[in-house]
Amino acid sequence: MRRVVVVGAGPAGTAAARAAASFGVEVVLIDAAPTPGGRHRWDARGAGARAELPDEVEHLPESAVWAIEPVPGGHRVHVRTGPVDGPERTGRAIEARALVLATGAHDRALPFPGWDLPGVCTAGAARAMARDQGIAVGERVIVAGTGPFLLSAAVSLVEAGARVTAIFEAGDPVPGFITRPGGALAGWTKAGELARYAATLARHDVPLCRRSAVIAAFGKDRVEAVLAARLDRDWRPVPHSLRRFEVDAVAVGFGFTPQLELAVAARCDLEDGFVAVNAAQATSVPGVFAAGDLTGVGGADLAAAEGAVAGAAAAKLLGARVRAPIGAMRRVRAGRRFAAALAEAYPLRPGWREWLREDTPVCRCEEVAYGAFRRAVEELDVGDARVLELATGAGLGLCQGRICGRSVAELAGLPETADAFARRPIAAPVRLGELAEDVPVDEGP
């Protein structure tokens, strides 16, 4: 039990593992990918990215944590290790006194007509495919959504050889940054990065259109064209502003959704859809810490700083002599101001609902059309996510509402939308045979 288990090897998780190990405690770092570093990093050169791990950290790559449960004095973490979704994975249950959750976030995609066509993908998918695999998702690509991450995705696409026709930013972010000068100042390191992106995009003649969005995609078996519109303040399409573009790919991103299932399974309190933590990154559950995008989206630097604090706090819980990580705590405070300014500058506005048509799938897995969804919601008293799932079918599919959950909760007018679908006792897919298997329990030192 005298060990720290860190889940997720992005900037937050690797920093947590390094920090805890530096104080001499045993650390196991579990991650789905074959190599540490995480997938959706804000910037390629960000602190903590592609970090070398010290020998003291036991790194479990290609490992999925599919459940965690409380045991006396800590938590038991259930892991399957081996090629993703393959039948030859091996099971293991690891017990830990301190648990650091750094499971990150994924792009949020809003539904729109044609968003289910091949060739439409998230900005994160386009960026990862370009940066990690050297493949552009299309030859002529439009990037659309909201947030500075769109610029990063567009740059990655250009560098992978795509022609980016335009970036459509649904928001009008400048006023937000002006009303929060403290936040903008705190994000000063990011300003240089944004300037570099802007220079690259200008060199490749990529226009950035504010208050505009892709509101429909067309094609038979793949995207062939899109319709873009100017938006009003609430993101409703402005009449007579529609323009058609021939493209073979669209990358969309409307901010990020934290991967909350393990935190919810551990019964951590949430706040505004993120895991609530104190100054030591401790959650409401003793022995469970959280760091990175789980606690709020603010980029790799903030994630790494939070990880360093969480790792130190976890080591201290195990009785290690720990120096207060003052530098990291200061970076966390500055980063949080930047994250707050970011959230304020790029809000989602409700007018996206007007992009939907009767036959637009709101749930991709179960192929639930908006018209049928709306009628089911009108006919039945849908008070929470479980009832909504059963009444409409939305969120019942393989992704378990990860993609559509927040959007359908908003469409149905549920009170808690950010985490309505986050309760997933089985956090990662396991095959029935794996579930039935008796696995060794590693109680540790």
Binding site: V84, D85, H106, P118, A126, I135, E367
Partner: protein
């Protein structure tokens, strides 16, 4: 390394994901949906949407965006909900 994509031999590189091999082969979809039979391919790229499911070595429901290719992998399109062969 050598892999097969729907019966056709392809050269893949160490570190590539199955989705990258499929995209590099000019494919933009490799699965059909269970109800509408609609084509699907890469969407989230991070293993959460389950759109890019594919059959690898006879095992269905493998997320192509996460799975690294291995020498000799037999990659096949997935038709709706398939049972392991």
């Amino acid at each position: 390394m050598r892999v097969r994509v729907d019966g056709e031999e392809r050269i893949a590189e160490e570190g590539q994901t199955v989705a990258a091999v499929l995209l590099a082969a000019g494919r933009d979809s490799w699965r059909t949906t269970r109800f509408g039979g609609r084509p699907r391919g890469l969407f989230c790229g991070i293993g959460v949407c389950f759109d890019c499911l594919v059959v690898v070595n006879g095992v269905p429901d493998v997320r192509a965006c996460l799975r690294p290719v291995a020498e000799g992998d037999d990659i096949r399109s997935q038709d709706g909900a398939e049972v392991p062969s």
